[in-house]
C-alpha cells in the first residue's frame, strides 16, 4: 500500500512537469508579447526590450521553462543579471521558492498572489462540497427507497430544476431575495477565520456555498439513487434480509457501502475542479478567489498568473485522483490485493 502511494505520487509529479511544459509551450504559441503588456501602452521598443530582459522573456522558451522549473524548486531573481546584482542589488527583486513567476500586471509574485486567494476558493469549495454531499446522498437514498412514489419524483424533479438554473442566476437570486429583500442573512463577503471566527467565516460562505451546492447536488441525487437501486437488487442484500437484519441496518451497512464507490469517484473529481476556483460564483458574490483571478488574469493577458493557476488546478486534480484511488482501497477490499 505504501509503495503504491509512493508510486502514484511519483507519477503525479511527472504529470505536473509535463503539464508545465505544455502550458509553457502554449504560453509562447500565443501572439502576446508579455513585455509589451508589462511596460504599458505607449512604450518605445527599447523599453519593451529592457522589460523583456528584466523578466527573462528574451530567452528561447525551453530555457525560460528551465528557469521557471528552477524557480519552483530554488526560487529566482528578477532580473537574472549577475552584473546588476553587483552594481545595484536594490533593483533586484527576489522570488522565493516555490516561485511560479512574476505577474507584471499585478506587480506581485504569482506564488504570493495565489497564496492570498487559495483560502477563499478552498473555503467556498469545502462548504459547498459538504452541503451537496450530505444533501445529494441523503436525498438520493430517500428517492431510491421510495422509488416510483411522489417523493421520489419530487426529489429528482426538484434537483433537476435547480440544476437547470445557471449559477449566476441562482447566485443573484440568493443575494437579491434572502439577503437584501428579506434580510434573512447578511450579504456575504469573505471573512477569514482569523478575522471573523468560525461562525463569521461559515455564515458568509453560506449563500455562495448553497449556490454551488444546489447546482452540483442534482448529479449526486441521481447517481446515489441509481447505485442504491442497483445494489438493492444484489444477491448479498437478499442474504442480509434472510439473516433477519433490520431494514435500517441493511440500508446503512450493506446497501450504502456498496453504492459509495462511484460516489467517491465523482466527488473527488468535482471537489478538485472546484478547489481551483468557482469562476461564476466568485464573480457574482465578489469573492476575490482563484476563479475571479483566473478571469481577470485571462482578460489582462497576465500569462505568468495563468500558468500558475493552471499548474495549481492540475495539482489539485492529480492529488484528488490519488486520494480517490487510496479511498477505493479503503472501501473495496478487492482492490487492496490486486
Amino acid at each position: 500500500m505504501f509503495a503504491y502511494v509512493v508510486r502514484r505520487c511519483f507519477t503525479g509529479v511527472i504529470m505536473l512537469i509535463v503539464m508545465s511544459f505544455v502550458t509553457y509551450f502554449l504560453f509562447f504559441a500565443s501572439p502576446i508579447d508579455p513585455g509589451r503588456f508589462a511596460c504599458g501602452k505607449s512604450c518605445p521598443p527599447a523599453l519593451i526590450k529592457q522589460t523583456d530582459k528584466a523578466l527573462g522573456f528574451d530567452k528561447p522558451w525551453p530555457v525560460q521553462w528551465k528557469d521557471f522549473a528552477i524557480g519552483v524548486v530554488k526560487g529566482r531573481d528578477y532580473p537574472e543579471d549577475p552584473a546588476l546584482r553587483k552594481s545595484a542589488p536594490e533593483l533586484i527583486s527576489h522570488c522565493p521558492a516555490p516561485c511560479l513567476g512574476y505577474s507584471q500586471v499585478n506587480l506581485i509574485n504569482v506564488t504570493t498572489e495565489l497564496k492570498d486567494k487559495i483560502p477563499i476558493s478552498v473555503s467556498l469549495a469545502l462548504v459547498a462540497f459538504v452541503m451537496w454531499i450530505i444533501g445529494g446522498i441523503s436525498l438520493g437514498a430517500v428517492a431510491a427507497l421510495t422509488k416510483g412514489s411522489i417523493i421520489d419524483r419530487g426529489v429528482v424533479g426538484t434537483s433537476l430544476v435547480f440544476y437547470a438554473f445557471p449559477t449566476f442566476w441562482m447566485g443573484l437570486f440568493l443575494i437579491e431575495f434572502p439577503a437584501i429583500k428579506w434580510g434573512l442573512v447578511q450579504v456575504p463577503s469573505y471573512t477569514s477565520i482569523a478575522d471573523g471566527g468560525v461562525w463569521g467565516w461559515l455564515s458568509n460562505l453560506f449563500l455562495p456555498g448553497l449556490t454551488l451546492a444546489l447546482f452540483y447536488m442534482a448529479g449526486y441525487v441521481r447517481i446515489t439513487r441509481a447505485f442504491v437501486l442497483e445494489s438493492m437488487s444484489e444477491d448479498y442484500l437478499r442474504t442480509a434480509k434472510a439473516k433477519g437484519l433490520a431494514p435500517r441496518k441493511i440500508l446503512f451497512k450493506h446497501t450504502m457501502r456498496a453504492a459509495l464507490t462511484p460516489i467517491v469517484t465523482l466527488a473527488g473529481l468535482d471537489l478538485a475542479g472546484l478547489l481551483g476556483g468557482a469562476i461564476i460564483t466568485e464573480q457574482v458574490f465578489n469573492f476575490n478567489g482563484l476563479g475571479k483571478l483566473a478571469v481577470d488574469s485571462t482578460q489582462t493577458f497576465d500569462l505568468p498568473t495563468v500558468v500558475g493557476l493552471v499548474l495549481l488546478l492540475a495539482a489539485f486534480v492529480i492529488v484528488a485522483n490519488i486520494i480517490v484511488d487510496i479511498l477505493y482501497a479503503v472501501i473495496d477490499p478487492r482492490v487492496r490485493v490486486g
Binding site: D235, A240, K241, A246, D332
Partner: protein
C-alpha cells in the same frame, strides 16, 4: 399432529403490466425435523419463489402471497414484518446458489457470519466472533481463527459455500432452505457440501428443503421429493417411490435427461422437448400437455381442457401425482423405462 413446516395452498402471484405471473399456484407440502425435502423442476417452475415466500422475502415487493405457511404451528403469513424478521435467520435460514454474489464483497466472512448471530442473540461482538470461528471450524474451514478475517474473494467457491452454511446454521435453525447450493460448484466439491449438509442435519436435527434441478442431489439427500412444473406440484412423495415408480410424464422426462455413465459414451441425452411454459399465460388444462409424449393415451381432450387434480398414485401411500393417465405405472414400465434404463427394465419383469 402437524409437521414442523407445513405449507398449505401457497400462492405467489406477481401482478405485472402484462398480467398476473402465477409463479406458485396452490402448492402444499410438509417437512419434519431431521428430514429433507427435495424440490425439483426446471428454471422458472416456481421452486425458488415458493421457498423465498417461507422467509417472507417477497414482503415489500408487489408480490401477492396467500395460503398458509405453518412453522411449528405459527402461520408465518399472518405475522407482521417485525415478527417475520425475528424468524428470519433464527428458525428459518436460507443459503443461496452463488455464494460469491450472495456474500457482501466489502465485509469479511467473519463479520458477515457474526452479524447473523448478533441479530438474534444478546451478545457482544467478541462472543459473536468466537461463535463465527466455531461455526467456520464446524463446516470444515481450515485455520478458522485466521480465515475469519478474510474477505469472500479470498475464499474458494467451496469454502464460500461452507461459510454460507455456517452463516445459515449459526442460530441452529429448525429449517434450512438450500436454494441450489451446489449448482455453482465443481463436482467434487458438490459431494463434500452435500455430505456436510447431511452431517449437520444429523447434528442439529433440522429440517432441510433442498431446491435443485439435479436428480442426483435429490437421490442422495432427500427423504421426500416434490416435482414442480409451472408453479404447481405435479408429483410428490417419498424419494424412493418417485425415483423408482414415477407416474407423471414430466418426472419421466427429468429422469430420462440424466446422463447414464454406464452406457455407451456416444449415447445421446434425451431432453424434454419444448420449453418451460410462460407463467403469464400457461397452456390450458395440464400445463405440461404441449410437451407430453403420452397425451394420445388420455381419452378425449382432458389434457388440454382440465387441470388434473393431485391424486394418490397407483403405488399408493403418500405418493401423489397430477396426471390424467389411467395407468401411468404400466406406461412407465413398458414404454419409458426400457428406453432410459434397459438393464433395469429387464431385471424387473
Amino acid at each position: 399432529m402437524t409437521s414442523y413446516l407445513s405449507v398449505r395452498d401457497l400462492v405467489v402471484h406477481f401482478p405485472t403490466i402484462d398480467g398476473i405471473v402465477k409463479a406458485t399456484d396452490g402448492l402444499s407440502y410438509e417437512v419434519e425435523r431431521g428430514k429433507t425435502l427435495g424440490i425439483v423442476g426446471e428454471s422458472g417452475s416456481g421452486k425458488s419463489v415458493s421457498s423465498s415466500a417461507i422467509l417472507g422475502l417477497h414482503r415489500g415487493t408487489n408480490a401477492k402471497v396467500s395460503g398458509e405457511i405453518l412453522l411449528d404451528g405459527d402461520d408465518l403469513l399472518q405475522l407482521n414484518d417485525e415478527q417475520m424478521r425475528q424468524h428470519r435467520g433464527s428458525d428459518v435460514a436460507m443459503i443461496f446458489q452463488d455464494p460469491l454474489s450472495a456474500m457482501h464483497p466489502y465485509y469479511t466472512v467473519g463479520n458477515q457470519i457474526a452479524e447473523a448471530y448478533l441479530v438474534h442473540n444478546r451478545v457482544g461482538k467478541k462472543a459473536a466472533r468466537a461463535r463465527a470461528i466455531e461455526m467456520l471450524d464446524r463446516v470444515g474451514i481450515p485455520q478458522p481463527d485466521r480465515r475469519v478475517d478474510d474477505y469472500p474473494h479470498q475464499f474458494s467457491g467451496g469454502m464460500r459455500q461452507r461459510a454460507m452454511i455456517a452463516m445459515g446454521l449459526i442460530n441452529n435453525p429448525g429449517l434450512l432452505i438450500a436454494d441450489e447450493p451446489t449448482t455453482a460448484l465443481d463436482v467434487t466439491v458438490q459431494a463434500q457440501i452435500l455430505d456436510l449438509l447431511q452431517d449437520l442435519q444429523r447434528e442439529f436435527n433440522s429440517a432441510i428443503i433442498i431446491i435443485t434441478h439435479d436428480l442426483g442431489v435429490v437421490a442422495e439427500m432427500a427423504d421426500d421429493v416434490l416435482v414442480m412444473y409451472a408453479g404447481r406440484a405435479v408429483e410428490y412423495g417419498p424419494c424412493k417411490e418417485i425415483l423408482t415408480h414415477p407416474e407423471m410424464p414430466y418426472t419421466w422426462g427429468l429422469l430420462s435427461s440424466v446422463p447414464d455413465l454406464s452406457a455407451d459414451t456416444n449415447a445421446k441425452l434425451i431432453p424434454i422437448r419444448g420449453n418451460p411454459p410462460s407463467l403469464l399465460s400457461p397452456p390450458p388444462g395440464c400445463a405440461f400437455n404441449p410437451r407430453c409424449d403420452h397425451r394420445d393415451k388420455v381419452p378425449g381432450d382432458l389434457c388440454t381442457t382440465q387441470v388434473p387434480d393431485l391424486t394418490t398414485a397407483r403405488s399408493g401411500g403418500n405418493h401423489v401425482k397430477r396426471c390424467h393417465l389411467a395407468n401411468p405405472d404400466e406406461v412407465y414400465a413398458t414404454e419409458v423405462l426400457p428406453e432410459i434404463a434397459p438393464d433395469l427394465a429387464k431385471e424387473t419383469p
